[in-house]
């Protein structure tokens, strides 16, 4: 048979050419799917960036308390800034030459061992350590500096402090914002300790023999140490005020490398090894690969070979159900008389047929013939077929049974 078949004699013919609307409809599913995926990705990204840390002086913080402005400015000016929350990474990065380690906050989280590790790393290359307002945890890093105890509780310091020292960075920066804490040397008069920015103002009593300031630089310890006594010098919110920016930038850009370490509680505690750590990685990879295998299996099994075949079936009305409905109605309304009447009439019609009596025969004649044919008491026959009025369902059943018995006795 040739490809050209006589359509007129052989019936209908079709090709699989699909109209454009149907194509768009099926393509629409993919477009909608792509849009959904895109929205999910965008939403996920937005939600993760919304979760930027709001911790004070965090290197990624973009709020007033954050420190991102300083970090970015340093990077723009050629300083290699390494930011980390991991102790190991901070220790590793601090061991490189020409590096400064900045711990902007959370120094109190570090254990003595952590501090030893950090200082040991710094000591190798004589790298500088910069602490920002460490408070009492300063004692963990050095025994040459200490927190100054304020002798004047009623003091009202000026909003800005002057350098009052010969440290070049401080002199260049000039006035800076005044903080709350002061630091001093353990042994006053140590020539290698520079103390700048003392608090001035009404009610402040300064002790010239034991100077205390907001900026303390100690070049004499195992590790060169700088204490910036006021965190707001570095914060996004106040870095642009007075000489804050100049002071912090010149302090942190003395070396080409800067490590910003933001200690966090518990991050460096190794979790106890779980069972999964003892499972070989090739086994995990193989087990994980079963997920795409399962996906493909679902696709293979789930693809339908064409739509379900449909059919318009002819209507069929249940017929006998109405009988049950009527029976239930009669039972609920206790229509014993009606039920008995129907059964009696049906039985009498059948009996009349068996006795060859026509429809014109009267009831009494029929009853007499029944009594004659069965040999039963006519009173009983009349009772069963006419007079009995059952008061309960049980009596109704008895009367019906009697009618059946009488009917069965008809020859």
């Amino acid at each position: 048979m040739s490809a050209a078949i006589d359509v007129a004699t052989r019936g209908t013919r079709s090709t699989a050419a699909v109209p454009l609307s149907a194509r768009l409809r099926s393509a629409g599913v993919w477009i909608v799917g792509a849009v959904v995926v895109l929205i999910t990705v965008i939403a996920t990204m937005l939600m993760t960036s919304d979760r930027a840390p709001e911790d004070p002086l965090h290197y990624d913080g973009v709020g007033r308390e954050g420190m991102k402005a300083l970090v970015e400015t340093l990077r723009d000016h050629g300083t290699e800034v390494v930011t980390t929350e991991s102790l190991d990474a901070a220790r590793e990065a601090s061991a490189r030459p020409d590096t400064t380690l900045l711990i902007p906050a959370g120094a109190d989280v570090l254990s003595p061992g952590d501090v030893d590790g950090l200082t040991a790393a710094l000591r190798e290359e004589r790298n500088r350590l910069v602490l920002v307002d460490p408070g009492v945890s300063l004692g963990a890093f050095t025994d040459r500096l200490t927190t100054a105890v304020s002798d004047s509780p009623l003091a009202d310091p000026d909003p800005v402090s002057a350098p009052a020292c010969r440290l070049p960075a401080a002199v260049a920066a000039g006035d800076v914002s005044t903080g709350e804490n002061l630091y001093s040397a353990v042994e006053p008069g140590d020539r290698q300790i520079s103390i700048c920015y003392p608090q001035t103002g009404p009610g402040i009593i300064a002790d010239p023999s034991d100077p205390a300031g907001q900026l303390v630089v100690d070049d004499g310890g195992d590790v060169p140490l700088t204490v910036l006594g006021n965190g707001s010098w570095l914060s996004n919110g106040e870095i642009d005020e007075d000489g804050n920016a100049a002071l912090s930038l010149s302090t942190l850009s003395q070396t080409p490398n800067l490590v910003v370490y933001y200690p966090r509680e518990g991050t460096d505690v190794a979790p106890p090894p779980s069972t999964i750590d003892f499972v070989p990685s090739w086994f995990l990879a193989g087990a994980g690969w079963l997920v795409p295998c399962l996906l493909v299996l679902l696709l293979v099994l789930g693809r339908r070979f064409g739509p379900l075949a449909v059919e318009r079936l002819p209507v069929v009305v249940p017929a006998v159900e109405t009988v049950f409905g009527r029976a239930a109605l009669a039972e609920r309304s206790r229509d014993r008389a009606g039920a008995l009447h129907a059964l009696r009439t049906a039985a009498l019609l059948r009996i009349a047929g068996r006795l060859a009596l026509g429809p014109e025969v009267g009831r009494d004649v029929l009853l007499t013939r029944i009594a004659g044919a069965t040999g039963r008491d006519p009173t009983q026959v009349t009772w069963a077929f006419v007079t009995a009025a059952p008061a309960t369902d049980r009596e109704l059943t008895e009367v019906v049974d009697l009618i059946d018995v009488i009917e069965s006795e008809i020859p």
Partner: protein
């Protein structure tokens, strides 16, 4: 998506386990995805296949039929195909799926065998084509409408009763028994007297002329009109025994048509509810039963009330001369009283009307139920239903309308007997 793609994915576990880690897993997955997409794009487009459906011969319900699906490869490529030839479920297709390979320009026919499960015009559903490359990782799929239908005629189970009924008619005709003059007979011919002929049928005038004894022969009246009205309204959609009331009505109409057309009468069939759904006539028909079957095949009862005035009008329009009008409907009290009885005088003024109705075989069983009170009430309700039918039949008899009510299996025979009885007594 085929099992080969699954196999390929399972094989991917080897490189993934040899080099554990996210990069290798992503690379393997990416390679598999790219191969699958490329394989899918390379598969021939299903629209390159030309399709044609050819329904097989009409059959009666219970017999097998076939349909042929012709596939033409119009493209210059060799195409590997999986075909699903979907049909309505009740068409009873034996096998709907085929795998084949078509060379360029090749034509192939797939013949599907059906054992239909119901009467009617059973429509084809879509043809689904799947093509694949030699690699066969992902198949392209397309479903196409190719309209066709197989026609399944009513089963005509009552055909087996036809020989006995025809025999009865022949006895009437005198071919196998002595035929005497009487009601319902007409003059047939003159022939020589043979021993045993009824002396009353000797035609003395012809005998005198022929100098020999000549008898007249008689035959039943011929060329009478029979109009069968089948009600296809909601009452015909009731379930009764294995099928519906309508199925039993069709059986009765078919048997009566076969019988009456064989006896030389002209039979017209009208199927109607709110409108006339189908008509058929034995006039100038070589095979009236087949023609009637074909006409009735696509008709199914619908949930309308019958419009009896319109039905009466179409009966009157069908036959102007005296006819036997057989109305096959339900003996429903309200319908008969309000719809059928008012139009009967119009019909009876010109025709003889017979009402046939399908009795529900379940009702007799229900009426015989005994036991507890619930059973007795059910029996009473069923008995009341049967009594209503009997009362309606008595009422119809009162106005001169014969009626038949029987179970679906008995009704065709009972109606045929009624027809033979009417014919024998010349009341046609």
């Amino acid at each position: 998506m085929t099992s080969r793609l699954l196999l390929l994915t399972l094989l991917g576990i080897v490189p993934v386990m040899l080099v554990p880690g996210w990069p290798s897993a992503l690379i393997v997955a990416g390679v598999i995805a790219v191969v699958a997409v490329v394989d899918w794009r390379l598969a021939p487009a299903p629209r390159l296949i030309g399709l044609q459906r050819t329904p097989g011969p009409m059959v009666r319900l219970g017999e097998d039929t076939t349909a042929t699906l012709t596939l033409v490869n119009d493209s210059p490529r060799r195409i590997r195909l999986h075909v699903r030839d979907a049909w309505a479920p009740s068409a009873g297709a034996h096998s709907t799926r085929t795998a084949l390979t078509l060379d360029p320009g090749e034509t192939r026919e797939i013949t599907t065998v059906f054992t239909p499960r119901r009467r009617g015009a059973l429509a084809a559903d879509q043809v689904t084509l799947r093509t694949a490359t030699a690699l066969g990782l992902v198949r392209r799929q397309k479903s196409v409408d190719v309209p066709a239908a197989i026609r399944v005629l009513p089963p005509f189970v009552s055909r087996r009763e036809l020989p006995s009924k025809v025999q009865k008619l022949r006895e009437l005709e005198g071919r196998s028994a002595v035929m005497i003059r009487g009601m319902g007979t007409e003059f047939d011919s003159l022939r020589d007297y043979v021993d045993g002929d009824d002396v009353r049928s000797i035609d003395w005038r012809a005998s005198a002329r022929a100098q020999d004894l000549i008898v007249k022969t008689w035959r039943p009246e011929r060329d009478r009109r029979v109009v069968i009205v089948v009600d296809s309204s909601r009452l015909a959609a009731r379930r009764s025994g294995a099928g519906t009331v309508f199925d039993a009505a069709l059986e009765s109409a078919l048997l009566l048509t076969a019988l009456a057309a064989g006896a030389g009468d002209r039979v017209d069939v009208i199927v109607a509810d709110a409108r006339v759904r189908a008509t058929a006539s034995s006039h100038r028909s070589s095979d009236p039963v087949h023609d009637l079957s074909v006409a009735l095949t696509p008709v199914h009862p619908e949930l309308y009330d019958a419009d009896w005035e319109q039905i009466a009008a179409s009966v009157l329009a069908t036959s102007r001369q005296h006819a036997l009008v057989v109305v096959i409907t339900a003996l429903d009290e309200a319908t008969v009283a309000e719809e059928i009885l008012p139009v009967l005088p119009t019909l009876m003024s010109r025709h003889r009307v017979v009402v046939a109705s399908v009795a529900d075989p379940d009702l007799d069983d229900l009426a015989a139920r005994r036991g507890d009170a619930t059973e007795v009430y059910t029996a009473a309700a069923a008995a009341a239903e049967l009594l209503t039918v009997e009362a309606l039949r008595a009422r119809l008899r009162g106005i001169g309308v014969d009626s038949v009510a029987a179970t679906p299996e008995r009704l065709p025979g009972a109606l045929a007997d009624l027809y033979i009885g009417l014919k024998a007594t010349g009341r046609l």
